[in-house]
Amino acid sequence: MSDEPILQVKDVTKIFGGITAVNHISFDIKEGEILGIIGPNGSGKTTLINCITGFIKIASGKVMYHGKNIAGKPAHKIADMGIARTFQIMRPYYSLPCYKNLVIPLFSPRAKRTGGWRGGGKLGDRDTVGIDILEEIGFERDSFVPYKIASTLPTGYLKRLELARCLALKPELIICDEVFSGLSMSEIASMVPLIERLQMGGITLIMIEHRLRELFQVANRVMVMNFGEKVIEGTSEQVMSDEKVREVYFGSEASEEVMKYA
């Protein structure tokens, strides 16, 4: 972990009509770090990452990536710079087999430049590289899972496919929008080491999650959002013991009640 922030979000604000979905949010993330973002439904987490990745235009504020302001750039340019994202509602190419799903990111200018996935050298046959990535991420080649049409796969594989699509770009930063949600306990248990492996591979991650236990297990720092505002940012212990966070999640009256059982 170096001390240089890879991404600095400064005062980002997004207004939909009369609703301020993201209100003056600022945070930094260092290279190789995992930052968790939590908050109740509708607190603006997904909007925030849509702002960072250029899928929606921000009203004001700056998004500095490697010291350069990327706010206002189109989504594909931002992805090209190395910020990959997953979608909360999975967006595979349903009509294509899984490994063909990865041909598309491997076709991108960034993959051609970086050599895709492991990088270095010339990008070989895209089908083969795609199958390699899928195998790495837990698609059993022996049972022909990479060859199955994406629409026939269960949620667990589709979530992994989302991650695989990010990996194919050889990104520096991956923003995961609820990769654990909708998965069974055992599926999550197998995803956690995968996330840790990505971090060891030098990838910085921002993770939006509702599964707090698993998130706290992997995240270096956690930011809590509510009504589009930042409530607190700190280590898992700091966040868990914070009075305001408990208020956000359980309401002010209930928090004492809950603490009896905690």
Partner: protein, 335 residues
């Protein structure tokens, strides 16, 4: 009464495993190549078996429509852009070929490729503004352009005005005309089929499936939509250029709605998303429309009835139905 359901099983033939064709016998080889051979050979012997010059001309027109149908099916089913402007491509290609031929005196062998490429570039440029938009805008704009173009030529009295450009050179003979356009249809049919399975074609299909995910993969979707429109409008312009050299005349009727609607109808009948479907559909619809000519305006009624019947009873189209029957066993099983 016991309940039954239809079970469908793929035919047990290992056609290929990961890019290696594993053909074990002549039977399997013919299973794969026979449908393609029937189509190719069938189209190539058509000019021989059809006796009258009138019907030979109809075959040429069928191929013009087939090219338009291919262009429509490719854009709509593999890129997700529903083009209602077949007439625009025909018009652009047709007028370009006519101008190049009459003012510069170039032979058809040069005017047709030139009109294809220049026409595709012009069409793509004009459609570029609506490519970043999602939704029906592309369809509406493509529907408007042929109407606008025809009225501009009429109002400003340019390019021959309502009389059109006459004295366009014809193909050197009936045979060259027919074989040229039949070959073009076959080349673009199999070329496009191949294209949609290459990596570039996968990007096109991904844009249709899910453009947000393509953006998130660092690919500029507008660029790829533009490439696809260039290809499709090129096919359309080629058809237009051929048509002008067949009729030896280019006029505002090239922008007629027929050229936009008939290919779409042919795609519905033939089976969308197969690329062969529109070609087959044109071979059914265009001759029928010629046969019904005797009925005068009543032919539109017959024509519409056929279309409605297809949409109601076989909305998937002939080719999709045929391919399913060919590749799968069907049997009834008790539930």
């Amino acid at each position: 009464m016991e309940e039954r359901r239809k079970e469908r099983l793929d035919r047990g033939i290992k056609i290929r495993t990961d890019k290696i064709y594993a053909l074990m016998s002549w039977r399997e080889l013919s299973y794969l190549t026979l449908p393609r051979l029937v189509l190719i050979v069938g189209m190539l012997i058509l000019p021989f078996v059809i006796p009258s010059a009138y019907w030979q001309r109809v075959i040429s027109i069928v191929c013009v429509y087939a090219l338009l149908g291919l262009s429509f099916d490719f854009l709509a089913q593999f890129v997700g852009l529903v083009s209602l402007g077949g007439a625009f491509f025909i018009g652009i290609g047709g007028y370009l070929a006519a101008i190049l031929n009459t003012s510069l005196g170039l032979p058809p062998l040069i005017t047709i490729p030139a009109a294809t490429v220049i026409g595709a570039a012009i069409s793509t440029l004009l459609l570029l503004p609506c490519l970043p938009l999602r939704g029906v805008y592309f369809s509406i704009v493509t529907l408007m352009y042929p109407l606008v173009a025809a009225r501009i030529i009429e109002a400003l009295d340019i390019l021959g005005g309502t009389d059109g450009i006459m004295g366009v050179e014809s193909f050197s003979s009936n045979w060259t005309e027919q074989y040229f356009i039949i070959f073009m249809t076959l080349i673009f049919l199999f070329g496009l089929r191949r294209l949609v399975n290459t990596d570039l074609g996968l990007v096109f299909r991904a844009v249709k499936d899910n453009d947000q995910a393509v953006k998130a993969s660092g690919i500029n979707i507008t660029t790829y939509k533009a490439i696809a429109v260039f290809i499709a409008s090129g096919v359309g312009c080629l058809a237009g250029a051929c048509l002008v050299h067949i009729y030896m005349w280019s006029g505002i009727s090239l922008f007629a709605l027929d050229f936009s609607i008939l290919p779409i109808a042919a795609t519905v009948i033939g089976g969308a998303g197969t690329l062969v479907g529109p070609v087959l559909g044109c071979f059914i619809l265009v001759p029928i429309s010629e046969l019904l000519r005797a009925f005068g305006t009543l032919r539109i009624v017959f024509y519409s009835l056929i279309l409605v019947a297809f949409i109601v009873f076989r909305s998937e189209g002939i080719m999709v139905y045929g391919q399913r029957k060919y590749h799968q066993f069907e049997r009834w099983v008790k539930i």
